[in-house]
């Protein structure tokens, strides 16, 4: 492999990867569950579910301390994923990573536990915002960094000793892929030789769930949690919220080779395009998604025929799956009917901010293991979606190049191309 790519830019390789999802911690655990078609979706036990329309989620309770707020769990999940990636890459020394951090983080804010604390502290007064502002001077200085938008990335930067100003970012449900894209661009500019790109989301609490519920985005198939997430099915009824994190160590090939690192794969291309149609829906013409896919293929310097498998965004909402099919069919033509495409979200749930990063790691594992994870719960195919979604059972195959799609509210569309190191 050449140290520069088809556009004479530094070739960007993956030298470390880490992942935590509702299926467990670490690549080995997550991967064995994915290829076994297991679901990580369960009944929510973290807070009362009385009166909620959706009572299931892909929570990461195993990583959680009892008093965790969303940023605390988001940090903990990210820490596990980044640690796995950094240890595998052997880049730098422990606590001294030789490059910047690009981190997709969920929006955070003071939570209800805090607001109730303030209400209680007000003793005999009515707990209005003005009364609290003017009220007793019990200070909560620890809230500031905890609920700051840059807080999670700052703590990760401290923990791993990344260089420079850590970037906290959001492109909604495409955030994880954007983190990777930003790192790739920085390496291609020669700004750094190595970078950590990560996404994390530990934000399942009552209000977050209710907000998505009010937008009718969530599945309400509560009876059998494992069967609720059913991407590309005719009876799909929304996504299932999930927690998780994933991280990649990305490096210029020249740098990785010089230090004798093991090359896990190539981050060959990134494509992006914003939609200007609607806050939560794609333009029915699919142009922005199509353009994001074409940009990614162009950036990677590959024709559509080079793609062996598609890691779908596949949320299981009526809208997403329809539009994703439409756009893929527009780019890949007739071949799309037989090109394998599956959705990890059928098992993991939708890890929101982390999803693009989680799916990049799964794409890498798909290449390295020569095995495509299935789309589970695909019992009622949608006749309008003619796709080979690898229903139910994982499938073996030689996979050299994977396309991974990520789309988000606000017209966000990001597509990555992950490839095997050329033999």
């Amino acid at each position: 492999m050449a140290v520069t790519d088809h556009q004479n830019r530094p070739t960007v390789v993956i030298t470390g990867a880490g992942v935590v999802t509702s299926l467990g911690q670490g690549k080995a655990t997550v991967w064995s569950s994915l290829v076994a078609g297991k679901s990580g979706i369960r009944r929510i036990s973290r807070f009362p579910i009385d009166g909620l329309k959706t009572t299931i989620a892909g929570t990461c309770d195993f990583a959680r301390a009892s008093n965790d707020a969303a940023p605390d769990l988001s940090f903990r999940l990210a820490e596990l994923a980044v640690d796995e990636a950094v240890v595998e890459s052997r880049a730098g020394q422990p606590g001294n990573f030789p490059g910047p951090l690009f981190m997709a983080v969920p929006p955070v804010e003071l939570e209800w536990a805090g607001r109730f604390t303030l209400a209680d502290e007000l003793l005999n007064s009515d707990p209005t915002y003005p009364a609290i502002m003017a009220g007793p001077a019990v200070m909560h200085p620890e809230w500031l960094a905890r609920f700051a938008f840059g807080g999670v990335a700052e703590r990760i930067a401290d923990r791993f000793g990344t260089k420079g100003s850590p970037i906290s970012l959001s492109t909604a449900c495409a955030s994880g892929a954007t983190a990777i894209q930003l790192a790739v661009e920085a390496i291609r500019r020669g700004e750094c030789e190595a970078a950590i790109a990560a996404g994390t989301d530990g934000s399942i609490h009552a209000e977050a769930l209710i907000r998505f519920s009010l937008l009718s985005a969530l599945s309400t198939s509560n009876d059998v949690p494992e069967a609720a997430s059913k991407p590309f099915s005719k009876n799909r009824d929304g996504f299932v919220m999930a927690e998780g994190a994933a991280a990649l160590v990305l490096e210029s090939y020249a740098h990785a080779k010089a230090r004798g690192a093991t090359i896990l794969g190539v981050l060959a291309g990134c494509g992006e395009r914003a939609d200007s149609f609607h806050r939560t829906r794609s333009n029915p013409d699919g142009k922005a998604i199509i353009s994001a896919i074409e940009n990614a293929l162009g950036d990677a310097g590959v024709a559509p025929s080079a793609i062996d498998y598609v890691n779908a965004h596949g949320t299981g909402t009526p809208e997403n799956d329809k539009m994703e099919h439409l756009a893929c069919a527009a780019v890949f033509g007739e071949r799309m009917k037989t090109l394998p495409i599956s959705s990890n979200k059928s098992m993991i749930g939708h890890t929101l901010t982390a999803a693009g990063a989680v799916e990049a790691v799964v794409s890498l594992l798909t290449i390295r293991n020569g095995m495509m994870p299935p789309t589970i719960n695909h019992n009622v195919p949608d006749p309008l979606i003619e796709l080979d979604v690898i229903p139910g059972v994982a499938r073996a195959g030689k996979i050299s190049t994977v396309m991974s799609n990520s789309f988000g509210f606000g017209g966000q569309n990001v597509v990555l191309v992950v490839a095997a190191e050329p033999a």
């Binding site: 830019r9 530094p10 009385d50 009166g51 983080v105 929006p107 804010e109 003071l110 209800w112 607001r115 109730f116 303030l118 209400a119 209680d120 007000l122 707990p127 209005t128 915002y129 003005p130 502002m133 200070m139 200085p141 500031l144 609920f147 700051a148 938008f149 840059g150 990335a153 700052e154 100003s165 850590p166 970037i167 906290s168 970012l169 959001s170 492109t171 909604a172 954007t178 930003l182 291609r188 500019r189 020669g190 209000e207 209710i210 907000r211 998505f212 009010l214 937008l215 992006e272 914003a274 939609d275 200007s276 609607h278 806050r279 939560t280 922005a288 509210f409 606000g410 017209g411 966000q412």
Partner: protein, 397 residues
Amino acid sequence: MMTAKRDVLITGIGLVTSLGEGVAANLEALNASAPAIVDDASFAPYPIHPTPVLDLDKQIPKKGDQRQMEPWQRLGTYSAGLALSDAGLAGQPDLLSRTHMVVAAGGGERDIAVDEAIMRDGKANPERERILNERLSNDIRPTLFLAQLSNLLAGNISLVHGVTGSSRTFMGEEAAGVDAMRTLSARIAAGQADIGLVGGAYSAARADMLLLFRFGSLLQSGPHMPVWARGADGGMITGSVGAFLVLEAREHAEARGARAYARLGQVVSDRSNRAPGAVKQRLGELLQTIAPALPKGPLAVMSGATGIGGPTAEERAALEAFADEGLSVRATGSRIGHAIEPTAIANVALSAAALHHGTFFPPFDPSEAPVKAAPEAILVTSVGHWRGEGLAVVARA
């Protein structure tokens, strides 16, 4: 390896502050030493600088769009529209479809009435988690979520103004503003983009944000006071600001005959652990990094100092130590307040406009020295209220 670097020009500015709408109005108010516009009643005892009255229809024509946004998003979408018009991009679908956007955003914004009702019912009530489910499910309006999401300012800009080249939102307080400019500028310099929009917005009339700052002891209370005069126990007076810039490769701007206010030179950022002396040391290092990009002679600075005692004093000390041929610093916090994410972007905007007119600003407080001659370049500083230090150089085009 990409080594050829292109010049990055500022070809459009959209600025709204408590002093007014548009960069010209702000320049005029600051040059005339107009008094700061302060609302000291709404969030007493903490003053803020409010958003001026805007004719939203001018930049956000559809009422439906206006309704779907909360104040910070309206302010941002409006300011972005000003910048796009100013750069001659508005209504140019070909250009807008390859305009790359990086927005520095917070988010949130609560339904205050719903919050207060739930706090009232939940106070000292063991059943409050159940009450929470019921009240949130029934009382918050479905679209509030979209007005809270950080990336939906960018989303609204795509929707209302048609910017679709790419769309990324940086979060992380003041550093997000600096890093948004740094990243977009680097992409343009390296040829990864030709033209882009960078900016952010903060609405100071935010009880929830003020609460967080107040319980961190970071707010200035009592009468309005310039930044440098607030002393060791000083704090922030937050200000509403929408600030957007159109950045463009020099050759791209020249090819379409665009007017350039100034050139955005080096932008650098890093972080310190905020131990005593750490801000001064980090800024000192960053100043050495960009020293070659600064002209010889007296140093003109547009400072984003928050007014928070320690870091504000350390920033001043770092600048005094560096500027051995004279220092004229202007802390815009003294006039428009501190606006978190868009602070540094607003200061770059004001610097660019001043350079374009061949002027610099009169002192904003008695401790700031006048300039003897208009500067060739202006240094913009950013020291976040809890983290992140950054610098940007703005030079004549």
